[in-house]
Symmetry: C2
């Protein structure tokens, strides 16, 4: 999935005079990596143009020679993040299993980047060749399983919607459903909550497993979508 740097092209480093502390020669790759490191270290609240500039020992305005806006910078991050989704499974597994394996890596990858989710949900894929390749593999998986053409995109988007929502859910506090001062007024929900808690599994994980099985089963299980 990850595209490695080709060892054939030596990526010639611009030589730097020694002895003098100097600022880095900026480019897209460098800025994107610095931004990603910042996010990984301090979360999205720490992702500021100033912060990125500082981590590169450069003035904030210097960044604008290479990136149009913070929004574009976030799209660069999004591409790197999406690169972590494994869609090779569609080449080796039957559709239902492939979808489940794909969804698991997809959710895990997004869970650490929740602020990107509203962006990804809305971002045209045209700018991200790798994301398009992912869709190609997923679509090919559906086609190979005999799906009717017109049903494929809705099915993909449906599962993706579930994945996005589930990834948001991962970031919720464990006690999100605690009724607080309203305890006792909502008996049915409280007993359901207590029973779920007794299982020991975080509700986000239980929900993801339950929902994934349900939606994939509901989509792939019934045969009325084949032509």
């Amino acid at each position: 999935m990850n595209v490695k740097q080709e060892p054939g092209s030596p990526a010639r480093e611009p030589r730097r005079r020694a002895g003098r502390p100097r600022s880095v020669v900026l480019d897209r790759e460098l800025i994107a990596q610095a931004a990603l490191k910042l996010v990984t270290t301090g979360g999205y609240a720490s992702l500021t143009m100033s912060g990125v500039a500082k981590s590169l020992s450069v003035s904030p305005s210097a960044l604008y020679n290479h990136v149009e806006s913070k929004q574009e910078l976030m799209q660069w991050i999004q591409e790197i993040v999406m690169d972590g989704v494994d869609s090779t499974v569609f080449e080796t597994l039957p559709l239902a299993e492939a979808l489940m394996a794909w969804a698991v890596t997809y959710r895990d990858v997004l869970a650490g980047h929740a602020p990107l989710i509203p962006l990804i949900a809305v971002l045209p894929v045209s700018g991200s060749p790798h994301t398009l390749e992912m869709y190609e593999k997923v679509a090919a998986g559906f086609a190979r399983a005999g799906w009717e053409s017109a049903q494929i995109v809705p099915a993909i988007v449906a599962i993706e919607s579930f994945i996005f929502g589930s990834a948001l859910d991962v970031t919720a506090p464990l006690d999100i459903f605690d009724p607080g001062p309203n305890a006792g007024k909502i008996p049915k929900f409280e007993s359901a909550l207590a029973a779920q808690r007794a299982s020991g599994q975080p509700s986000a994980d239980a929900a993801f497993n339950t929902g994934l099985r349900a939606i994939v089963g509901g989509l792939v299980g019934s045969g009325d979508r084949r032509h």
Copy 2:
């Protein structure tokens, strides 16, 4: 669903001397409504403390006598928005149909408030009695259908995750999947896309219908979750 103002309590207006233009007497209700109107008119980009203050003819700092932060103000909006979700259907319809009707109103209500979604996904429900009541009705619907206690919360959260993701999806541009310069390189996906487009239905709607049927069918259809 909406809690009406009780006509018994006359909500005595503080009398205002006539002739002099004066600023409003602030309270939570007034601020929340002003904020909601601002959002409805100009979207979430226009929701600023200054903007709310201006619409109330008051200085921005005055708001902080009534609300702790912009975050809290957004929670007030969230409560009003969630009040639009119809969960009475669980009292009248069989579980599967109730879930689908509930999901439809839920997604429609959220679609106009996408920036709230990451907030709602993470917000403890304890602060919002109405939301808790919603969960009680949904849980009661599952219980009435004979569901095992421990399975109910995961099922609810799973459907909610799908709804959240689908609501985000509504705000995506219609041509989000346009391959742009990569046209031709992803044949399987492109033909699936063309076939879907030919149906005339926006892909977000098609995906929501497809996915909702699948997840509800996958959850409620198979009988192995009853005790």
